[in-house]
């Protein structure tokens, strides 16, 4: 185990998230009721994904600047774990939506068909598919230097596409997903004080977990590609 303190912090924050996330009081909103607790889990997946993708693109830029193969390893590993968190966020969001948006008790009842047309869902799917293509592209280039270089360039493009597809376009279109007027989870006036006590630690905890997994991936690849790194 290397640099233990933040891993311990990660474990403590996640345990606190699970305990506090289920036991602390939350405001009972008309439609959401107790499902608002998903904020500590579903939304945090996307926050962790964003952080991991930002780290990934920074390493891609650094790779393009000096051609150090190590930076390419970092970029790939962080993008990989970012996709994992993105998929988890997508699935949890789908479950959450099917019991709140498409709920017969919902005054503004929406059918499943209209949920599938939700701009936020389509945007998120697009962003994830663009990142899938990053790995397809990489695996289709046999030459290591070329693979790293095209991969790094494509990663910057994928990161640029992330913003219109999950941040901008869903907000321009009518959507059931919260966040039409801003950042609902991050707005200080919007979020209940009681929820903030768990929500912010939860974001940090899940993000640290993602970084932990990515760092393991990096170290494993470093061992595997030892000969390449010292060439």
């Amino acid at each position: 185990m290397q640099k233990k303190w933040w891993k311990i912090a990660c474990v403590i924050l996640l345990v606190y998230t699970v305990v506090g996330g289920f036991l602390f009081d939350v405001p009972a909103l008309r439609q959401l009721q107790e499902t608002i607790r998903n904020l500590y889990f579903h939304v945090c997946m996307w926050m962790a994904m964003m952080t991991l993708f930002i780290v990934s693109v920074i390493y891609s830029i650094r790779y393009l600047r000096n051609g150090n193969y190590l930076f390419d390893i970092y970029a790939v590993s962080y993008a990989r774990v970012g996709i994992l968190f993105g998929i988890l966020g997508y699935i949890t969001g789908a479950i959450w939506a099917s019991y709140t948006w498409a709920d017969p008790n919902n005054p503004g009842y929406a059918s499943f068909g209209s949920i599938l047309r939700e701009p936020k869902l389509i945007g998120a799917a697009m962003a994830l598919l663009i990142y899938f293509a990053y790995f397809v592209l990489r695996s289709s280039v046999p030459d290591i230097d070329k693979r790293a270089r095209t991969g790094a360039v494509y990663n910057i493009f994928a990161f640029a596409m992330l913003f219109p597809s999950i941040w901008i376009v869903p907000r321009l279109l009518p959507s059931l997903h919260p966040g039409q007027q801003g950042n609902p989870g991050l707005d200080f006036r919007d979020l209940d004080n009681r929820m903030r006590m768990v929500y912010y630690p939860a974001i940090i905890g899940w993000t640290l977990l993602g970084i932990w997994i990515a760092s393991l991936q990096v170290r494993l690849t470093k061992i595997k590609d030892k000969t390449l790194l010292h060439a």
Partner: protein
């Protein structure tokens, strides 16, 4: 499509139909205050316990992976 995959698909299809019908039962009941009753029974702690076990298992696995990789790093260098 191989037989095993189609079987798996059918399995998941059946799994999800049961989930949706269960949800309808909850929603069509007199009250949709499922969570409050869970609280009054004190059974929410069961969920917390289950999730803590899952979290503990995952973290235990991560730590053991971390250790293994550390050992490999030492061997190779």
């Amino acid at each position: 499509m191989p037989k095993s995959i189609s079987r798996l698909l059918i399995f998941f299809l059946l799994l999800f139909t049961s989930i949706t019908s269960l949800a309808q039962d909850f929603n069509n009941g007199e009250k949709a205050e499922m969570a409050d009753s869970m609280r009054s029974n004190g059974k929410i702690y069961v969920v917390v316990a289950v999730l803590l076990v899952i979290l503990a298992g995952l973290i235990f696995y991560l730590v053991s992976l971390d250790r293994k990789i550390s050992r490999l790093e030492k061997e190779k260098s």
